[in-house]
Point group: C2
Chain length 181, copies 2
């Protein structure tokens, strides 16, 4: 039986932070570059600002026009699908306004993925696949299978996970797994 | 650690078939009673009619006003939540127009469920919980944990699953599990 891989969306497939940086600068009088922004955590945003940011992200179309994070991603997933059962697992419950935009984005960029294999969830402890590729150490810690950390500046100090830096590396890793088996 | 239970929505929590029966009769010139309708499978619907039915179900508000299937459900879930980690897992990907209505329905009837524990999926093979309560034998067969079949007339000939007929029985079963452990 094929092994299964769950793939996170934001910052693994879709470039969420580039748009977030623009949104942030426009609304909070900051002047972050993309690079600086990827190092911030926004944890200390005042309550009112956090509410405003959430309202902006929760607009129905916000997630629809995100760019693909790595141009190799689509081809690699198409290829891996021949050997693995691929699921897309995104923590959409954090932003319920994003459901339709996320679904439409996946239909546009990954039309070859079965809709039955798309999962909108919250806590990824509930995901039952052999692997999960995610940029969030918190999600990987609660996941029960083999977690793979998609490297981002904000997770650079996390230890204890296998890391990948781009989709070429993801392809290499999973093709190698097939040879080992 | 708490054991976890995933709960399906349609025909376990929400009374989807009553509304579907009305929709069906109004659109296809039939005259089914609720009871008759629960015995049909609609598998033989002509292609054009199936498309029309899907379009109707996919309207953004269709799933918003479903009644609660069993008046005990809410209280039982609230009580079980003290002893179990409860997830709601609904195959929403079949009807992507239903996302917001389903989310809002859950917020209305189960406001005490963490949004992080709501899952919109397709194939429930991807759900990692100890138990799944579902009316669909197909979903229970692909699920990896302990499946519990919520009895409905259309699944009456299925064997090999533990059955429950209502939420009082669900409560009894899970309270008993706690005593056994």
């Amino acid at each position: 039986m094929k092994k299964s891989i769950a793939i996170d969306m934001d910052q693994v497939l879709a470039d969420f932070y580039s748009k977030l940086c623009v949104t942030y600068n426009e609304n909070f009088g900051t002047n972050f570059t993309d690079e600086e922004f990827l190092l911030t955590t926004q944890r200390d945003l005042p309550r009112e600002d956090a509410k405003k940011l959430f309202a902006l992200l929760n607009e129905p179309g916000y997630f629809r026009d995100l760019k693909v994070l790595d141009e190799d991603a689509i081809d690699v997933i198409r290829e891996l699908q021949e050997h693995y059962e691929i699921y897309i697992a995104t923590a959409a419950m954090d932003v319920p306004g994003s459901f339709t935009a996320k679904y439409d984005w996946l239909m546009e960029y990954l039309p070859f993925i079965k809709t039955q294999n798309i999962v909108f969830c919250g806590n990824k402890a509930v995901i039952h696949t052999d692997y999960l590729i995610d940029d969030s150490p918190r999600q990987l810690k609660s996941f029960k299978g083999t977690g793979i950390l998609y490297s981002m500046p904000y997770n650079r100090s996390e230890e204890g996970f296998m890391r990948v830096n781009n989709w070429k590396e993801i392809k290499q890793y999973f093709i190698k797994q097939l040879e080992i088996v």
